[in-house]
């Protein structure tokens, strides 16, 4: 999310493509937050810490599998 607008709207950047979407369903929200946008509405915020934990877990899974492989 790159800019809050009036009426619970916000400007978001989808990999550089700018769209105006409603953030009425995810208040409060701040610039820099990542959101999942569906049919013009932000449905939920991405939790950066949990995202990092999932990535770490995925990398770990991969490592274990590689070590276990003959």
């Amino acid at each position: 999310m790159i800019e809050l607008l009036p009426d619970q709207m916000a400007r978001v950047s989808l990999d550089g493509v700018i769209k105006v979407v409603s953030v009425a369903l995810v208040a409060p929200i701040t610039v820099g937050d990542y959101v999942i946008v569906h049919v013009g509405f932000a449905l939920t915020r991405i939790d950066p810490e949990e995202a990092q934990r999932t990535l770490a877990l995925l990398a770990e899974m991969g490592q274990i599998a590689t070590e276990a492989a003959p």
Binding site: H38, V39, L43, T54, L55, A65
Partner: protein, 380 residues
């Protein structure tokens, strides 16, 4: 894009595939249903089935909003759009869904009906405000992800006292469909798949919360793993399901912790509860009437209900008898089991709804999966 590319790493996917191969017991079969069309699309697009051992099979579920809408509701929308005073606003993927006798919204539009594609419910509100002489109807479809946007639009129309905006409501709920599959796995005497677990939907779960699936783990003893839409998410969820099955466990687990909480999005749930109430029953393609599975506008918002304003008669219409969408939506048949697949029925000229949306099992298989069929047959 951040939070997407990292979850598409082919090297990690192959190592998770190795972990899956090591965990899967070669003496047994694993059948997992991905409920959601977003997962069906991801599995086909990234060729995830090719990374799985032969005894781990994915069964496509009914979580494609366009696919489960019965023909009768399309016919009702077309009839409504043909009224001269009506402007029907719809999400794009509904345009080509076949109604009865080869009709579709696209054809009705070509014949002169005022039908407009919108990206968001707010676009439909903007049209209603800009053109007060038109009766603007939003053709609302979808699961729990598109329902909150419709609820907000209705409240906005109410607050702005719009008298020319209504909603033709076809919103449906995920849990009753899963229950329907578990309670009645067979269709017309054809045996359904023996499911060992479910991949729970991603964005739907962000709204309703992972706890919404607890009843299936508890009452039906099926493991459910809520997963994100990226390929590594799906692979990890499959591994989590295999581990649950091997351990004899049946719990709801959440792979998509970066976006889904146990309780879901409370704001969205409150907006939906304020505007909508349960219908006693709603018809689904492939399921027939499913009790307490669809929503309608509450009495307080009756003025925004297109079915009431235009006294829309209920239409029930039969599917094309050769189309296997019903059985495919329930995981009983695969797209290639249908005689029409790839011959009469393609994304350009769909005969059944599963070929229309990119989330439909037939469209996903046509676009990505069919090229692998030959290799797979050769191995078998």
């Amino acid at each position: 894009m951040k939070y997407m590319d990292e979850y598409r790493d082919g090297k990690i996917a192959r190592s998770i595939a190795a972990a899956i191969a090591a965990a899967a017991d070669p003496a047994r079969l694993y059948h997992f249903m991905e409920f959601c069309g977003g997962h069906t699309h991801a599995i086909s697009r990234y060729g995830l089935e090719d990374l799985l051992p032969g005894n781990v099979r994915m069964v496509h579920g009914p979580g494609c909003p366009v696919c489960v809408l019965p023909i009768g509701r399309i016919d009702m929308a077309i009839r409504l759009a043909q009224r001269p005073e009506v402007t029907l606003c719809t999400y794009g993927d509904l345009m080509r869904v076949p109604g009865s006798h080869g009709a579709s919204l696209l054809r009705a539009k070509a014949a002169g009906a005022d039908i407009r594609m919108v990206y968001s419910t707010l676009d439909a509100i903007a049209i209603a405000q800009a053109e007060p002489e038109r009766q603007v109807v939003f053709f609302a479809i979808g699961f729990e992800t598109t329902t909150p946007p419709t609820a907000l639009a209705v409240k906005l129309a109410c607050a702005r006292r719009l008298t020319n905006f209504t909603v033709f409501c076809n919103h449906v709920l995920t849990p009753p469909a899963i229950r329907g599959i578990l309670e009645h796995p067979d269709l017309d005497g054809v045996e359904g798949p023996k499911l060992d677990g479910f991949i729970g939907p991603a964005h739907v779960s962000a709204v309703i919360g992972s706890d919404a699936f607890a009843e299936f783990a508890r009452d039906f003893e099926k493991p459910v793993v809520v997963a994100g839409f990226e390929p590594l998410d799906v692979m990890q969820a499959i591994l989590m399901l295999i581990r649950q099955v091997n351990d004899g466990r049946h719990a709801v687990e959440n792979q998509y912790i970066r976006a889904v909480s146990p309780q879901g999005n409370r704001i969205a749930q409150a907006e939906v509860a304020e505007v909508f109430e349960l219908r006693e029953s709603f018809e689904w393609r492939g399921f027939g009437a499913v009790p307490a599975s669809g929503l309608r506008l509450r009495e307080a918002y009756a003025g925004f209900d297109a079915e009431r304003r235009f006294a829309m008669p209920e239409i029930s219409a039969a599917d094309n008898p050769a189309c296997e969408c019903g059985a495919i939506l329930r995981g009983i048949k695969r797209p290639t089991d249908c005689k029409l697949f790839g011959t009469l029925c393609t994304p350009e000229t769909p005969m059944g709804s599963c070929m229309v949306s990119s989330e439909g099992a037939c469209a996903a298989h046509w676009t990505y999966g069919r090229f692998r069929d030959h290799a797979r047959r050769a191995v078998a």
